[in-house]
Amino acid sequence: MILVFASAANIFSKPVLTSLLVGGLLAGLPLMFTALGETISERAGVLNLGLEGMMLAGAYTGFLGAYYLHSATVGFVFGALGGMIGALFMVVLCVWLGLDQIVVGIAITLAGEGLTSVLQGAQFGTTYPRLGAPTLASIPLLDRIPVVGPSLFNQPPIAYVCFVLAGLMFWAFRSTNIGLNLKAAGEKPEALDAAGVSVIATRSWAALATGALAGVGGAYLSIVAAGVFTPMMTQGQGYMAIVIAMLARGKPIWVVGASFLFGISLSIATALQLAGINISTDLINMLPFLTIMVALIIFGRRAYLPPGLAVPYVRGMR
C-alpha cells in the first residue's frame, strides 16, 4: 500500500513530468510531420494509404544521407526525396491515371516495407550502424523556464521546423490561393477546373508534398529518434498519422495537438518506468490505438472527409 502511494507521488515529480512532456513531443514529431502531410493531400482529395511505406522510404534514404554525408540536414533532405519517390507512384498511378487509391496505397506500403528491408539487408547485412547523437539547438530565454524549460526548448533543429511548418500551413490554408485551390480540389474538383486551375496539377503537388513530409517524418525516426535504421521501424505510425489527419479535420493546429497527445501515449512507458510503475509493454503499445478508437467512437459523428476524397478526377465525367 505504501509502495503504491509512493509511486503515485512519483508521477508528479520533475523527471517524470519532463520525460512525459519531452518524450511526448519527440515521439509526436514524426507523427506531426506525416499527419501534416496527409492533411495536405486529404484536403486535395487524395487518400494516401501509402504513408507507412513513404515514411519507411524516407527513414531509409534519410539514414543513408546522414550516414554517408555526416549531416542530419542532408539526411532530412534525402528523407524528403525518398518519401517523394513513394509519392511519385501515387501521383502517376492515382492522380494522373485515376487508378484506385486504396490499392495503390497498400502497394506503396508493402513496397516500402519490403524494399527498404531488402536494401538494408543487402547493404549492411545483419549489422545496424549507428549515427552519432543529434545536435541540439536551444531557444534563448525560453530555455530558462523552470522545470520543463531546459529540456523542452533544447531540441534538434528539425523540431522547430515542424512547428514553423504547421504555422505556415495554417496561414496557407486560411489566406492563400494555394489553400483555396487545395480545398476546392477535394470538395468540388469540377469547380476548380471550371475556374481554370488544373485539378490534376493541384493534386499532384499535394501528393508530392505529402510524400516529402512523410519522408521527413520517417527520417526523423531513423536520424534523431533511433539513430539507426531497422526494417519496419515505423510500426504503424503511418496509419496513426492518417487517423490524426482525419480526426483533425484538415486543421494543422489540431494536427499538432493530436500528435502531441499520441506522442505522450507513445512515450508514457518510459515515464511510468521512471515513476517506478511497471506495466506490460503490450498494454502501453495498445494505448495509442485504443485512444484513437475511443476518440472515433466519441467524435465519430463529427468525422468529416472531403467528398472528392479517393475519387479520381476525370474531366467531364460524373
Binding site: A107, L110, L208, G300
Partner: protein, 400 residues
Amino acid sequence: MSDGVIPAHPTDVVENVPPPVGDNRQERLPRSRRAAALRDTLIRSVVPVILALVAGGVLLLILGTNPLKFYASVWQNGVQNGSWQDSAMLAAPLLLIAVGLILIFRANIWQLGYDGQYLLAAVLVTGLGPHITGLPSVVFWLVLFLLTALVGAIWTLVPALLKAYYETNEIITTLMMSFVGIDLANILVKGPFQDPTVNIPQTRTIPSNLMLPSIPGTRVDIGVIVAVIAPFLAYWLLTRTAFGLRLHVLGANPRAASHVGINVKRLIINSFLISGAFVGLSAFVDILGVWGYVRSNWNPAYGDTVIPFVFLARLNPLAVIPFIAFFAILSNGGDLAAANTNVPTDFLLVLVALILLFMTVIEYFGRQRDLGQSYLPPGLKQVFSRPIIPRRRGTREVNS
C-alpha cells in the same frame, strides 16, 4: 406489340446488357465473346504476376543473386519432394482470409483488420483448447470452430457499428482494432494463457491427438478441405442468394441500395460479421492444423499478402483459389530459397507490391482499350506546365 413481346435488335441486347451481377455474364454472351472475355480476364490476372516476377528478377540481379536460381529454388522448396503438402497447409488459412475479404470487398467496404482477428482467434483456441480436452474430439473441434468464427466476428463489431451508424471510415477503425487485437493477443499469451511449464512466453500446446487429422497418405490436414469448401460457399452466397445481390448493390451504389429498400445498416453489420468469421476460421485451420500453440509477438500477417490476389481474382472467390495456391508455393518455397541465396525474406513483400502495381497499370490499359480511348492519359502533357495557382495581378506562381 399486342402480344406483349418487345422486339429488340439482337445486337442491342448484346451491346446494352448492363454489367451483370456475379458470373452470369458467361451464360449470356455468345461463345466467341465468352472466349474473348476469358482471354481478357486471363491477361489481366496473369500478366501482372509475370511482370512482377520479371521485375523482381531484375531487382535480384541488382542485389547480386541469380534470379533463375532463386525461382528454381522456390519451385524445389515449394512443390517438389512432398513440400507441396506444406504449401497446401499454408494455403488453407490464406484461402479462408481471402474469402472473408472478398465477401466484404464486394460491398466496397475495406475491412483491413484481419491480423487482429486472426491472432485473437488463434490465441483463444490455444488458450481454451487445452482446458476442454476431455470432450470427444468432434465436439472439441466443433466448439473451437464456432469459437474462432465468433471471435473473428466480434472483433469487427465496433468498426461495423461505427461504419453503419456514423459512416466512420472503416479502413481506419479496422486497422486500429487490428493493432489493439495484436497487443491484446500478446497480453493474453503472456498472462492468463501462459504455459506454466515453460519459461518462454507461449500458450499451452493442443495435444496431438486433438489436432486435425491428416488426409490419408499425406501430411495435409483436413483443415485444407474446410478451406477449399469456403470459396465455393462464398461463390454460392454471392451469385445465388439475395444476400449476394444486396451486397453487390451496396458495393455499386450505397444510395441506390437504400432507395430499393435494402436495410443498409444491417447489411453492413452482417457483412462485417461474416467477413470476420471467415478470418477467424483461418485461425482454427492454421492452429489446429499446423501450429498447435502460439508464441508471443508471433504474427504471420497473412492478410497483407492475400490482398493483391483477392484483387487479381477480381473478387471472385473461385478464381482466388489458383492465385492463393501460387502464393502459398511462392511463400513456402521463397522462405527457404531466400535463406539459401542470402536474400532477405522481405523480398516477397516487394514481389507482392509489384504484382499490385502492375495489376493496376494493366487494369488501366484494359479500361482505356474498352473505352476506345488513347493509351495516353488526358492531361498528362500539360500537368506540370500549369502553375498550382493562376497568375493574377502580375504575381508569380508560388509552388510548394
